[in-house]
C-alpha cells in the first residue's frame, strides 16, 4: 500500500516511515501542508497519515479543503493530544480514524486496515501464495475455494511468516510482532497462535514448521 505521511517532526517521521516500510508499504513523506499538496498533485495514495499541528496550518483545515476538492483518499489523523474534542473535530472534519501519538505500529496497521476495509479498499490487495489466496484487508484465507477468516493475531502471525518464507523466526521475534509491549506475555502464548493458524491452513500445501530450539518458519512447496 502507498501511504502519504504528513508530519513535521523529522525524527518521528523517519521512524514511522521505516516502520511502515518494514510492514511492506510504500511511504511518501511531507513535512508541511504545502509539500503534501504537491505530493497529492503528483500521485494517488491508499491512505494519508495526517498530523494536526503543522508549521503551515492545521491538519483539520487541510482535510476539509481536501474533501471539498473531491479527494476521498482515506485519512487517519495523528495528534499528540488525546483530547476527545480533537478526535471529534477530526472525525467531523472528514477523517476516517484518529490515532494518538505515540502509537503501537500494530495499532496503526490495524486501524489502517479497518479504514480500508470500510472504504471497500484497494482491489489489488489479495496475495496468491501457492494454493491459497490471502486478503489482508478482509483478513481472509482462501484454501481450495474455502474462505477462512483469520483473527487479528493469526493474521499478523501469518503476515510475519509470509513476509519471509522459509526464514526461521524465533518465538521472541514473533512475540514482539504479535503483542503490544505494554502486555506481558510468555513465549508459550505464541504456540497457541501457531496452532490456531495451522488449523486455518489445513488442506493447503503451505505449512508452518517447528524448528526445534530456534522457532518457526513457513514452508512453501
Amino acid at each position: 500500500m502507498r501511504y502519504l505521511l504528513v508530519e513535521d517532526a523529522v525524527e518521528l517521521a523517519e521512524s514511522v516511515k521505516d516502520l511502515l516500510r518494514l510492514g511492506g508499504h510504500a511511504v511518501d513523506w511531507s513535512a508541511s501542508l504545502a509539500e503534501a499538496r504537491d505530493c497529492l498533485g503528483g500521485a494517488s495514495y491508499d491512505l494519508i497519515l495526517l498530523d494536526i499541528a503543522l508549521p503551515d496550518g492545521d491538519g483539520r483545515r487541510f482535510l476539509s479543503e481536501l474533501r471539498r476538492q473531491g479527494n476521498a483518499t482515506p485519512v487517519i489523523m495523528m495528534t499528540a493530544r488525546s483530547a476527545v474534542s480533537d478526535r471529534i473535530d477530526a472525525l467531523d472534519g472528514g477523517a476516517d480514524d484518529y490515532l494518538t501519538k505515540p502509537f503501537d505500529p500494530a495499532e496503526l496497521e490495524a486501524r489502517a486496515r479497518a479504514v480500508l476495509r470500510r472504504r471497500g479498499g484497494a482491489a489489488s490487495s489479495t496475495r496468491q501464495l501457492a494454493d491459497l489466496s490471502f486478503d489482508p484487508l478482509t483478513a481472509t484465507l482462501t484454501v481450495a475455494g474455502d474462505p477462512r477468516e483469520l483473527r487479528n493475531r493469526e493474521m499478523r502471525l501469518f503476515e510475519v511468516l509470509i513476509g519471509a518464507p522459509n526464514c526461521i523466526f524465533s518465538k521472541d521475534q514473533l512475540c514482539d510482532r504479535l503483542f503490544s509491549f505494554a502486555e506481558s506475555v510468555t513465549e508459550n502464548a505464541i504456540e497457541v497462535y501457531v496452532a490456531r493458524l495451522r488449523r486455518k491452513l489445513e488442506g493447503s500445501c503451505v505449512r508452518i514448521e517447528t524448528v526445534r530450539g530456534l522457532g518457526y518458519r513457513l514452508t512453501l512447496p
Binding site: L12, D18, A80, S82, V84, I88, P102, A114, D176
Partner: protein
C-alpha cells in the same frame, strides 16, 4: 436555612482553621438583648413616671373636689358658724388608698376648726380655685390643697381660708402596684426579647450560613462564582469571594493548560522514541539489545499513557464548570466510542459486545467529559482483560437514571482496593505489571461527581470487574 441538627455551631466548626474573632451571632444577640433590656428599663421608667403623674393628677382632682366641698359646707349666720362637713368628703379622700386626712378652717387668722398645725400655703390663695402644695404635719409629709372663700360673717364680707391635706400612701400604693406591673411588663418584654433576638440573629446571619453551606458543599473543582441571593450588606463579601474564585479559576486553568501543553510536548518525542525503538527491534539480532529495546518501548508506552491521563484529567478539571452542559445522547456517544476503541480491542483479540435500548437515552452533561470518562472505563477494561475475552457494555435506564455498565473478565480488583482506587495515582495492588498511571479512575469519579452521578467498581460474578457509571436522566 442552615441544617438545624448542626445548629449555629457548625459555622465555626466548618471554619475551624480560621482565626476566630468574637462570634457575630453572639455579638448580635448581646446587642439585641442590651437594646431589649434598655427598652424594658425605659418602658418601666416611662410607665412608672406616667403612672405617678396620673395618680397624682387623679388624687389632686379628688383633693380639689373635697376642698371645694369643705369650703362650700361653711355657712355663717351672724356670728354663728355652721360647717356642714359630710363624712363622705373625708371618706372620699381616703377611698383610693387609706390616707390620713387633715383639714383646717381659718377665719380672721383664727383656726375655727380642724388641725391648727396644718400649714397654709406660703402665699395665701385669693381666687376660688384650690392651690396645691406640699407640707408636713407632725413629721408626716402631706399633699395639701387650699382655697379662700368669702362669707358674710358678722355683717361683713370675710375671707376664710380652707386647707385640706392628705398623706399619699394611696398614691404610693397605686404607683407601686403600677410599677410592679410595669416591672413584670418590662421583664416579660425582656424574656420575650430573648428568643426574638435569637431568631433575629439567626435570620440576619442566615444568609452567611447559606453562602457558607453552598460554598462548602461544592466539589473541589466547582469554581463557579457564588450565585446565592444575599442581602446587600453581604454583597462586598460575596464580591470579594467571587473575585478570589475568579483568580483561583484563572490560576487553575493556567495550570491545566500548562499540563496539557507539557503532555503534548512530551508525546511527539515519545512517539519518535517508540517508533525508533520498534524499528531498531526489527533490525537487532542481539537478545540483550532486544530486551533493552523492549524496555524502552514499555517505558515510552507508560510515559505516554500517563501523559494521556494527565491531559484527560486536565480536561476534566478545566471543564467542571456547568456552563458547557447540554443534552447528550449516551447511545450515540457509546456507538462512536466503541467504533474508535474496536481496533484496539481487536489487536488483543477482545470482542466488544454492546447492548443499548432502542430509544435515545439523554442526560444533561458535558459531552467531552462524559466521553473521556467512558473511554477511560473502556480503556481500563481492555487493558486488564485477557486475550480472547469478551467485554460487555450495557446502557440501561432504570427510574430517573441512565447507567452504563462495563463488564470484563479481567483479573478483577481486590475488595480492599475499591475505596482506595479513586485518589490520584493510586493503582490496584494486583496490576503493577500493566502500564497505567492510576489517574484514570480518579478522573472518572470526578466526572461522575460533577454530573451528580455515581461511579462504582464491583467484582463481577465469575471473575472480572464490573464498572457502573450512572447519571440522572435529563
Amino acid at each position: 436555612m442552615t441544617d438545624p441538627a448542626r445548629g449555629p455551631g457548625s459555622l465555626p466548626r466548618r471554619l475551624a482553621a480560621v482565626g476566630l474573632g468574637g462570634s457575630l451571632q453572639r455579638k448580635l444577640i448581646w446587642q439585641f438583648l442590651a437594646a431589649a433590656a434598655l427598652a424594658a428599663v425605659t418602658l418601666f421608667l416611662a410607665i412608672r413616671v406616667t403612672a405617678d403623674r396620673a395618680a397624682e393628677a387623679a388624687q389632686d382632682s379628688v383633693l380639689a373636689a373635697a376642698t371645694l366641698a369643705l369650703s362650700e359646707g361653711l355657712l355663717a349666720e351672724d356670728d354663728e358658724l355652721d360647717l356642714d362637713l359630710p363624712p363622705t368628703v373625708l371618706s372620699m379622700l381616703s377611698a383610693m388608698g387609706e390616707d390620713q386626712v387633715f383639714y383646717r378652717v381659718v377665719l380672721q387668722g383664727r383656726t375655727v376648726t380642724g388641725y391648727e398645725n396644718l400649714a397654709l400655703p406660703a402665699a395665701i390663695p385669693t381666687g376660688g380655685e384650690p392651690v396645691f402644695y406640699k407640707t408636713s404635719l407632725n413629721g408626716t409629709p402631706v399633699r395639701a390643697a387650699s382655697l379662700t372663700r368669702t362669707i358674710l360673717f358678722d355683717g361683713a364680707q370675710t375671707d376664710v381660708q380652707f386647707a385640706l391635706a392628705q398623706t399619699r400612701h394611696g398614691q404610693a400604693a397605686i404607683a407601686d402596684a403600677i410599677a410592679r406591673r410595669a416591672g413584670f411588663l418590662g421583664i416579660g418584654f425582656f424574656v420575650l426579647a430573648v428568643p426574638m433576638s435569637l431568631l433575629a440573629a439567626r435570620a440576619i446571619l442566615g444568609p452567611i450560613g447559606q453562602v457558607a453551606d453552598g460554598v462548602s458543599r461544592r466539589g473541589p473543582q466547582d469554581l463557579r462564582p457564588v450565585a446565592e441571593r444575599v442581602p446587600p450588606e453581604l454583597a462586598p463579601f460575596i464580591a470579594a469571594l467571587n473575585g478570589f474564585i475568579r483568580r483561583l479559576r484563572l490560576a487553575h486553568s493556567r495550570t491545566e493548560t500548562f499540563i496539557a501543553e507539557a503532555a503534548h510536548h512530551i508525546r511527539t518525542p515519545l512517539s519518535a522514541i517508540r517508533a525508533e525503538a520498534e524499528v531498531a527491534l526489527h533490525e537487532a539480532g542481539d537478545d540483550n539489545i532486544r530486551t533493552r529495546l523492549r524496555r524502552v518501548i514499555r517505558s515510552a508506552e507508560e510515559c505516554s499513557r500517563s501523559a494521556s491521563q494527565l491531559m484527560d484529567h486536565a480536561l476534566v478539571m478545566s471543564r467542571s464548570d456547568r456552563e458547557v452542559r447540554g443534552p447528550v445522547e449516551l447511545g450515540a456517544l457509546l456507538d462512536g466510542l466503541i467504533a474508535s476503541m474496536r481496533p484496539t480491542a481487536d489487536l488483543r483479540e477482545l470482542s466488544l459486545r454492546w447492548r443499548r435500548p432502542d430509544e435515545p437515552v439523554v442526560v444533561l452533561g458535558d459531552r467531552l467529559l462524559l466521553e473521556t470518562a467512558l473511554r477511560n472505563i473502556l480503556d481500563n477494561a481492555i487493558k486488564y482483560s485477557n486475550p480472547d475475552d469478551a467485554i460487555d457494555l450495557l446502557l440501561e435506564v432504570s427510574g430517573r437514571e441512565a447507567s452504563v455498565s462495563v463488564l470484563d473478565r479481567g483479573r478483577g480488583i481486590a475488595k480492599a482496593d475499591l475505596a482506595s482506587l479513586a485518589p490520584r495515582f493510586q493503582r490496584g495492588e494486583n496490576v503493577r505489571d500493566i502500564v497505567g498511571s492510576g489517574l484514570g479512575l480518579t478522573m472518572v469519579t470526578e466526572v461522575s461527581d460533577s454530573h451528580d452521578g455515581r461511579f462504582r467498581l464491583e467484582p463481577r460474578e465469575g471473575g472480572g470487574t464490573c464498572a457502573h457509571f450512572s447519571l440522572p436522566l435529563a
